[in-house]
């Protein structure tokens, strides 16, 4: 490989991983929620909330890590709305998700106007998390260039994949989650608290989607812009399905979608002759094909989307 090609490849790979990062967090959130039986259409809205509050609190405190914490907290609070409606009130999970997405768009735009007296986007925060946290890695030949483009969120995303896998498949709590998502009645019979398990999972999902939002705002362009999530919450949902509701599967799906996005963005500057729309469409079409069984069948947890009513008898 000559020098020019290496530069191009590194640029595309780095861009792919950075673009995949918010998707990884959000799709892991989806995995937790749906493994416990709650469909989370609200990932998009929770990401918007996380993105906004990360910028707001970074702006207020000057510390981007407090911004991340705020994004996690607002993510959990927003997801509680979904949890209450879909678990306690046994309401329609999809309707609640749609409502949260609508509320998140309006609420953040409202607060943007209240706090900064302007609409469209916030000013940039001075300190963000857009730089490589491990400078010594930049010394590595060839790959150093790659590492120099990573943000703290990139490392954290990969770490979360490992943790999620461990929690879901190697702990008794994970076993309980999967039992509740597959057969809540049976889980209840053996003494698992179905409501509690679902609440915790939806809150984990909210925390992860909140971080996803933060990684998009203070982890990418240091500001919040209306509409900046642009359907990424739904792509994360697609990645979760494409990855067969498995953390590692979701990771690879996100990297694949991130790569398609990166090629799409860089295609024109490198003169790659492919219509940008086909690459933009890829995640959605791939997911439909996966669901139809064309590229390895994806099957949802059995009790996904079904409210559980405890027998009072």
């Amino acid at each position: 490989m000559d020098n020019g090609t290496t530069v191009v490849v590194i640029a595309i790979v780095a861009s792919a991983i950075r673009l995949a990062t918010p998707l990884i967090f959000a799709s892991l959130g989806g995995v937790f929620s749906e493994r416990s039986g709650v469909v989370n259409i609200a990932l998009e809205g929770i990401m918007i909330m996380g993105a906004f509050f990360a910028v707001l609190f970074t702006h207020l405190t000057g510390n981007p890590w407090i911004g991340v914490l705020a994004a996690i907290i607002i993510g959990i609070l927003t997801s509680l709305l979904l949890a209450v409606v879909s678990i306690h009130l046994r309401g329609n999970q999809v309707v609640a998700g749609v409502a949260i997405n609508l509320l998140a768009v309006s609420l953040t735009a409202f607060l943007l106007e209240m706090v900064w007296n302007r609409s469209g986007s916030t000013p940039s925060v001075e300190k963000a998390l857009t730089d490589n946290p491990f400078e010594f890695l930049e010394g590595i030949p060839v790959l150093g260039d790659l590492f120099s483009r990573f943000t703290p969120f990139v490392y954290f995303a990969f770490l979360m994949v490992g943790i999620s896998y461990y929690v879901l498949f190697k702990t008794s709590f994970g076993l309980r989650i999967r039992a509740v998502g597959e057969h809540p009645r049976a889980a209840d019979t053996v003494g698992i608290n179905v409501y509690m398990t679902r609440y915790i999972c939806v809150m984990i999902s909210g925390a992860l989607a909140g971080i996803a939002g933060a990684s998009l705002s203070i982890g990418t362009i240091s500001l919040f812009r209306e509409g900046m999530t642009a359907g990424k919450g739904f792509i994360a949902l697609a990645a979760m399905i494409f990855g067969k509701w498995h953390p590692v599967g979701a990771l690879f799906a996100c990297l694949f979608f991130g790569l398609a996005d990166a090629i799409q963005i860089q295609a024109q500057s490198f003169g790659i002759p492919i219509a940008q729309e086909f690459l933009q469409m890829l995640p959605y079409v791939a997911t439909i094909l996966a669901l139809a069984g064309v590229v390895g069948r994806s099957v949802a947890p059995k009790a996904d989307g079904q409210p559980y009513e405890k027998d009072m008898g």
Partner: protein, 364 residues
């Protein structure tokens, strides 16, 4: 109307009514946070959207697409399907309308206009059937497929506008970010042509097509065998299957009809209001608003007409509120709150029940 009729009406109306009231109450809090007076704000909202025939006209043209998408979502709900894809079916309907308008531009308007509406509706129906088929054949949840189909439609339409139906390609102008327009002879009439008092408002005859569709859907659902089958599948699919009603056939059919309505929303919007389609990075929102319209309308065609009007009022009035210095986002918050209260219907039911017991106690 006899006493039973009134009771039936109240039973069906209380959920949306309480949700709407709660929506406005919570909206009032946000208006106060924004430093304004809710009464002033809501007066501006309603004066701006129904105070005078011109303003009513503006509200009506905002209402028109919502009638179709609301009916679309409501009809699918009746079969137990959640058509979150009205958004994409709307887009497919609108771009098909443009294509028909261009390629058959030599036909007289009296033929071309019905053709545009027919094929726009058909395209929406076919697009929705993909989700119906995947559900019937593989048991894939329609919410997921329709979301994916929404973005596929949006991006695919951008591609078509950029490379096929662009004025640059067809009319030799410079490159545009929108499609060619449909010919003038194939457009729906403005209401102001018949009633001058509608003034500058863009209200058009599409609203009558919407009302006709609502009546047709009412007839289809409640007066025909097909409607009975569709409602049976929605009510209890196992029992319906046991009674000899094919679940699979009705799922595909219901999605097709639901898609026809959303596709028609797009075609009517093109023929009555926008005449061309813009490239866009985001959804129009009519499909998602259709979900709210269907829920508030109790998934009943006549209820949908009323709730589409309410959302038309909110959407038109939000601009008027903004002129009065209140962030227009308050309207979005009100809509979100209404939907979430309807989703968690138990809260509303609890309030209604408490009221009822209080009334009963008073009676004793």
């Amino acid at each position: 109307m006899n006493k039973n009729g009134l009771k039936w009406l109240w039973d069906n109306l209380k959920l949306p009514l309480i949700a709407i009231v709660l929506g406005f109450v919570i909206g009032a809090f946000f208006i106060i946070i924004a430093g304004s007076n809710p009464i002033v704000a809501y007066t501006a909202l309603f004066k701006g959207s129904v105070g005078g025939l011109t303003k009513i006209g503006e509200t009506l043209y905002k209402t028109t697409p919502l009638i179709f998408t609301g009916l679309s979502v409501a009809f699918a709900f009746r079969t137990g399907l959640f058509n979150i894809g009205a958004e994409g079916q709307y887009i497919v309907g609108s771009i098909t309308a443009i294509a028909i308008g261009w390629y058959f531009q030599n036909l007289p308007g009296t033929i071309l206009l019905p053709l545009i509406l027919f094929f726009g509706a058909l395209a929406g129906g076919i697009w929705a059937s993909i989700a119906g088929f995947l559900k019937a054949r593989f048991g894939v949840h329609e919410v997921i497929t329709t979301i994916m189909l929404n973005y596929t439609a949006l991006i695919g339409t951008n591609y078509i506008i950029r490379t096929v139906l662009n004025p640059q390609v067809l009319e030799g102008t410079t490159k545009m970010a929108f499609s060619v327009s449909i010919p003038e002879k194939a457009r729906l009439s403005k209401l102001s042509e018949f009633i001058p008092q509608f003034g500058y408002s863009s209200a058009h005859t599409g609203i009558f097509i919407g009302i006709a569709c609502a009546l047709a859907i009412y007839y289809l659902l409640f007066k025909t065998t097909l409607g009975y089958e569709i409602r049976s599948v929605g009510f209890n699919p196992e029992a319906a299957e046991y009674g000899g009603i094919s679940k699979k056939k009705n799922i595909v059919l219901a999605m097709f009809i639901s898609g026809i309505l959303a596709g028609l929303a797009g075609a009517v919007q093109v023929a009555g209001l926008i005449y061309k389609v813009n490239m866009s990075a985001a959804m129009s929102g009519y499909g998602f608003d259709g979900i709210a319209v269907a829920l508030v309308g109790g998934n009943h065609p006549i209820g949908v007409l009323a709730s589409a009007l309410l959302f038309g009022v909110l959407s038109n009035g939000s601009r008027k509120m903004q002129l009065a210095g209140i962030p227009k986002e308050v309207i979005g918050i009100i809509q979100g709150v209404i939907i979430i209260f309807i989703a968690g219907k138990l809260v509303v039911q609890l309030i209604a029940k408490r009221k009822k017991t209080a009334v009963h106690k008073e009676a004793e």
